[in-house]
Amino acid sequence: MSNIPSDLRYTKSHEWVRREQNGTVAIGISDHAQSALGDLVFVEVPDVGRAVSAGEACAVVESVKAASDVYSPVSGKVIAGNAALAAQPELLNQDPYGAGWLFRVQTNSPADEAALMSAADYANYLADSAK
């Protein structure tokens, strides 16, 4: 069973969102997603300053197997990308909710975040998808 921290919110495309201070959020991919992708070998995060819309593809994670887009779950402006992943993409496999975070966004639309799934809903969603 994959790890689904209860303090985060989730998308159907397996991103997670963590609320931080002053209207900023951190974004990554779930434990389920990193496990499904397999060993990650390349990560591309968005440039700082880029304006992103909810649902927009703005990062790429590539495993030995395949490349996958990561969609921003919220609208706003990118204020940080995780530079450590360039040299150590495996951080995403080892610590998807911590050292493997992808980027941070200053949101301008709090409603986006409220629309995301809770941990319990995401667990149900994964269970339904597996059927």
């Binding site: 397999g38 060993d39 070998v41 390349f42 030995v64 197997k65 395949a66 490349a67």
Partner: protein
């Protein structure tokens, strides 16, 4: 539900992530594809390759039949047990499949074909075998385990029946030895030393677990693909297929044009293509971060006089430096080199610096001559 090998339940018990491959439910990895890759390069790993088709051919004229059927020449096989890699071609030169053929005796050869092409191969082989009164028998009750890596042979030999151990231990590369229903060959698809062992399906699980107890790492199709690509070996369906002939697939070395009198299927078409400019299959190393994948576009500058057909005395063509395009046929991240590598089909005479389009952006790559890695050593400077 897909087809399952005799080892399917064993794979599940050992934590395999299963994927469909050519209609078969096969292990992709058992946890970490990269660790499995390194185990093969540094020590020993094993793959279930029971999905591959083992076909026995028997008859007084079996050698004549194979000299007609295959682009490589089984006339080169003079010692029983010796193996040969060959393409099987359509009359137009397209590749039906690539295979390994073992010379067992003057009246019997064994052919190992790809899983995804097995049924069409059987139909094609059977159709042509009739003219030579050769019988074609798919060996459904065999399992096959490939044990690969620098320590693969030493770890495998103690588990073989005493009657097979001596002959297996003495095998030269690309040779096989049989005992009862077992067949051990010093072949593989990883660029490392090792064995491919065929055995009765009902002995497969026991053998697999005994090999595992020897410290041999189970490895899935994921590692098999990164290993074969580092070794510069083609994958059927990616790097060659019925739409592409061997000469544009890096397989000219497997086509035996000599002796000239041997009329193999596809010969006439290939002779017409010999020396033509056309395309060739090359290795690529990505100079930047990113991962090469099949079907990405490769932009090349053709600086030579349009390839091998060019008359050296002729002036360069007016469009000699016009950019032309090719395509990545197999691409991956190389765990051994820590870089992305690929095979690509590009116009002959392409300059070594190329650009590959990855998600709409151009990235610099370099044409190199495969293999990238053999026997644990990186052969291409990065």
């Amino acid at each position: 539900m897909g087809l399952k090998t005799a080892l399917y339940d064993t794979h599940i018990l050992q934590g395999a992530k299963i994927v469909d491959f050519g209609g078969w439910e096969m292990p992709l990895h058992y946890g970490s594809q990269i660790e499995e890759h390194h185990a093969v390069r540094r020590d020993a790993g094993m793959f279930d390759v029971s999905h591959m088709g083992v076909i026995d051919l028997e008859g007084d004229r079996v050698r004549d039949f194979l000299r007609r059927l295959l682009a490589n020449d089984v006339g080169r096989l003079t010692t029983p047990g010796k193996a040969l890699y060959s393409c099987m071609l359509l009359p137009g030169g397209g590749v039906i499949d690539d295979l390994i053929v073992y010379f067992i005796s003057d009246t019997r050869f064994r052919v190992v074909v790809n899983a995804g092409t097995r049924d069409k191969d059987l139909a094609w082989i059977s159709r042509h075998a009739a003219d030579f009164a050769v019988t074609v028998a798919l060996q459904r009750d065999l399992a096959m385990i490939a044990i690969q890596g620098p320590n693969a042979r030493d770890k495998t030999l103690p588990l073989l029946a005493p009657a097979l151990r001596g002959s297996a231990g003495a095998l030269a590369p690309f040779c096989g030895a049989a005992f009862d229903s077992w067949f051990v060959a010093r072949t593989g698809y990883t660029g490392e030393d090792g064995f491919e062992v065929m055995m009765p399906a009902d002995e497969a699980a026991k053998t697999w677990n005994a090999l595992r107890a020897q410290g041999i790492q189970p490895a899935g199709l994921g590692a098999r693909d990164t290993l074969r690509l580092e070794a510069g070996m083609n994958l059927y369906g990616n790097d060659m297929d019925e739409q592409h002939h061997p000469l544009e697939s890096g397989l000219a070395w497997t086509v035996a044009f000599e002796p000239g009198g041997r009329d193999f299927i596809g010969r006439t078409a290939l002779e017409g293509l010999r020396g033509a400019a056309g395309n060739r299959l090359v290795g690529l190393i990505l100079e930047e971060r990113g991962v090469l994948r099949s079907h990405q576009k490769v932009v090349v500058a053709v600086t030579a006089r349009d390839g091998a057909a060019g008359d050296p005395a002729a002036p360069p063509r007016a469009d000699a430096t016009a950019p032309r395009t090719g395509e990545v046929t197999s691409g991956t991240f190389s765990p051994t080199m820590n870089r992305s590598i690929a095979l690509a089909r590009v116009p002959s005479g392409a300059a070594s610096s190329v650009q590959v389009e990855i998600r709409g952006k151009m990235h610099a790559a370099r044409i190199v001559k495969p293999p990238f890695v053999r026997h644990g050593k990186v052969l291409i400077p990065v």
